[in-house]
Symmetry: C2
Subunit: 356 residues, 2 copies
Amino acid sequence: MFKDAFVTETPPVKTPARNRRPLTLRDVSEASGVSEMTVSRVLRNRGDVSQATRERVLEASKELGYVPNKIAGALASQRVNLVAVIIPSLSNMVFPEVMTGINEVLDETPLQPVVGVTNYNPEREEKVLYEMLSWRPSGVIIAGLEHSDAAKAMLKAAGIPVVEIMDTDGQAVDACVGISHRRAGRKMAQAILKAGYRNIGFLGTKMPLDHRARKRFEGFTEALAKEGIEIADREFYEGGSALAKGREMTEAILKRTPELDFLYYSNDMIGAGGLLFCLDQGISVPGQIGLAGFNGVELLDGLPRQLATMDACRAEIGRAAARIIAERSAEDGESGGGERIELTPKIQPGDTLRRR
Amino acid sequence: MFKDAFVTETPPVKTPARNRRPLTLRDVSEASGVSEMTVSRVLRNRGDVSQATRERVLEASKELGYVPNKIAGALASQRVNLVAVIIPSLSNMVFPEVMTGINEVLDETPLQPVVGVTNYNPEREEKVLYEMLSWRPSGVIIAGLEHSDAAKAMLKAAGIPVVEIMDTDGQAVDACVGISHRRAGRKMAQAILKAGYRNIGFLGTKMPLDHRARKRFEGFTEALAKEGIEIADREFYEGGSALAKGREMTEAILKRTPELDFLYYSNDMIGAGGLLFCLDQGISVPGQIGLAGFNGVELLDGLPRQLATMDACRAEIGRAAARIIAERSAEDGESGGGERIELTPKIQPGDTLRRR
DNA sequence: TACGCTTATGTTAGCGATAAAGATCGCCTT
DNA sequence: AAGGCGATCTTTATCGCTAACATAAGCGTA
C-alpha cells in the first residue's frame, strides 16, 4: 500500500514536512475521473457501480492513501457505528472479560465499541456518559443500575438502545443483562450453612459505590439471618494488591476472631490471598476453615487448591448486551426495548467448601 | 438536571415513545432567544457573552437536556479531541496499567483516549487503525514498533503525532516511549549468571507475534552465549490460565530436565504458577532452583514468596506517551516530532534469585 | 420509432456545528 | 457633535460527506 511514497527515513527530530492538507473524497474523485458520489459509493459498497469504475476508484484511493472521514460521513448520514461501553474499571479482571464478550458479537456487525472508564465515581460516570453521547453513538452499554438522575435522564433522552449490565436488582432505564447479586449472596450463604459452617466472617472492599458487592453482602446476611445467624466479624480494605490485602485481612480477622470457621470474600482475588495465607499457616482448609470468593476468575485454576466461588457469567453478559444493541440497531424501526435477561450464576464448590 | 421532564416510569416492554427528533443548537437558541452562535459560545466558554445571556442559555440547555453534537462540531472546527490508543490485549494486566498512566495525563487536558484492541493480530491492527484514523483523532498511541507496511504508511500519512510504546528496539514512525526488551533480557541473564546459576530453562508463550517477548528472549540468550552458556531446555504454552499453565510447564520441564537450576519465565503470571508449583513440591527456592519473571505485576506482592522480576515501567510509559501527544496538540505548530524516551527497568530480585 | 426499464453516474441540498467577519449599541473622547 | 472603541451579539460561508433525486445511455419491445 503506497509504499513508494514514504520510504524516506524520518529525520531525527522533525516530523516529515507534510504540508499537504488531509485528503478528501474530492482528491480521489479527481484522481480517478469520476464524481465524488461515485467514489463514496465504491468505498461503501453501495449502489450500482460498474466493475471498471470500481477498480479505478479503489486503485486511486489506495494510491493516495485515502482514509474516509467518518466525521463528515456520520454527520451526513446521521448514522454512527459506535457503541458506548461504560464500565467502572479495567484493572480488576472482570470487565476485560465482559469486553471480550462484547467484541465477539460486535465483530460480526458494523458496530464498534468505544470504552469509557468511570473508576466507580458517579460524577465521572456522568461526565464520561455526556462525552460519549455527544458522539451520538448507536447504543450504550453501561455497568450497573445505579446512576445519577442526570445520567438517567441523558440515557432516556438519547433515544438509543441502552443496556445496563452486570446487575438485575433494580429498575433499568431500558434493557438490562446480568445476574442478581443479592441472590448470588443468598445462594452462597445457603451453601455455606448447608455445609455446616456457623461462625462466618466477611471480607470485602471499602468501596461504598460498588453496588454489586454491596448487594451480594446484603443477600448474604439476609440468608444467614433467616437461619438466625449473624456475621461474626468483618474486615474491609482499600487500594493495594488485592492478593496481598487478602492475606493481611485474613490474618487480622483470624487474630481478632479465632473461632471463625468460614470466610466469605467479596472477590476472588482477596479470596486467593486468604487461601494462600491459610495454607502458609498450616490451617486446614476446608476442615478447620472454609473459604469462598466471587467471580470465577481464571486465575483460580492455578492455585494450590481450588477456591470456592460463583461464576458471574461475565463473557455471556457482554455477549447478550451486544446482541441486544446489534439487533435493535439493525431493524431500525423503533421496535424492541426493555429486554431483561437474568443469568444464573452457579456455585463452584472447589476445594475450600466442605461437602457433606 | 432536568429531573422533571422524565420522571415517568418506563413502560415495561416498549421504549418510551420519543418522537421528538434529537435536539440541536437551534432548539436551544430558540428556547433562549439568542442566535445559535451565541449558544455555541456559551457552551464552549468562548468569546464574550454577557453574564445574563450566559445564564439564560445554560438554563435553557439544561432544561431541554441538550447534548452538543461533537460530530458536527468536529467537522466544523477541524478539531477532534480524541487520542487513538491501540493495544494488543486488555486481559493481561499490563495494558490496563498503561491505560491508567495515559488517563492520568489526559484527564488534565481536553483530550480523550479511545481504545482499540488488536489481539496481537497484524491484520486486525491494520483494520483497527484504519477505523480509528477515519475519526481523525489528534494523535495515536500504538503498542510496538512492528506494523504492516500499510499500517506504517497510514501512520505517516495521517499527519498527527504518533507515539509507539512499550518497546524501543527498532525504528519508530515518529515518537517512541518504552524500554529495550533486548536489554531487559540481557540484564536478567547477567543477574542470573552472577548469582551462579548455570543450567537455565526458559518458559514462554507460543505467540510468535509478541515481539517484545521475543526480543527479551533474544537478549537473554545473547547474554548467556557471551558467557558460553546455552539455554538447557525450554517450554511454551498458549491459551488458558497463565497461572495454571505456569504450574504445568514447570512440572513438565523439570521432569524432562531435572538438572535445571534456574527458570526464566516470559511473564510474571506463569512465573507465579511455577513458584507455587515449586513450593508445593517442596523444592527449595532459590537454593535448589531460582526463578524469575517479567513485568513486576502487583499480584506478586501476595505470593508466599516474592518472585524475582523486572518492572516494565508500564504506568510511566503511558504517562510519557500521553504527555507527548498532549504537548504537541497544544502548541499546534508543526513543532516537535521524533521524541524517543527509553526507560530503564530495574531488576527486583525478590526472594527467588539467590544473592551472593 | 418511440416508449419504458435497467444500469451507471452526476447534481443538489443539506447534516449540525464553528470560524471569521460584520452589525449594533452605548459610552467616552476631543 | 463626529468619530472611535470595546463589548456583545448576528450573519454568512464552509467542513467532508451522503440521501434523494435527476440524468444519460443502452436495450428490448410494441
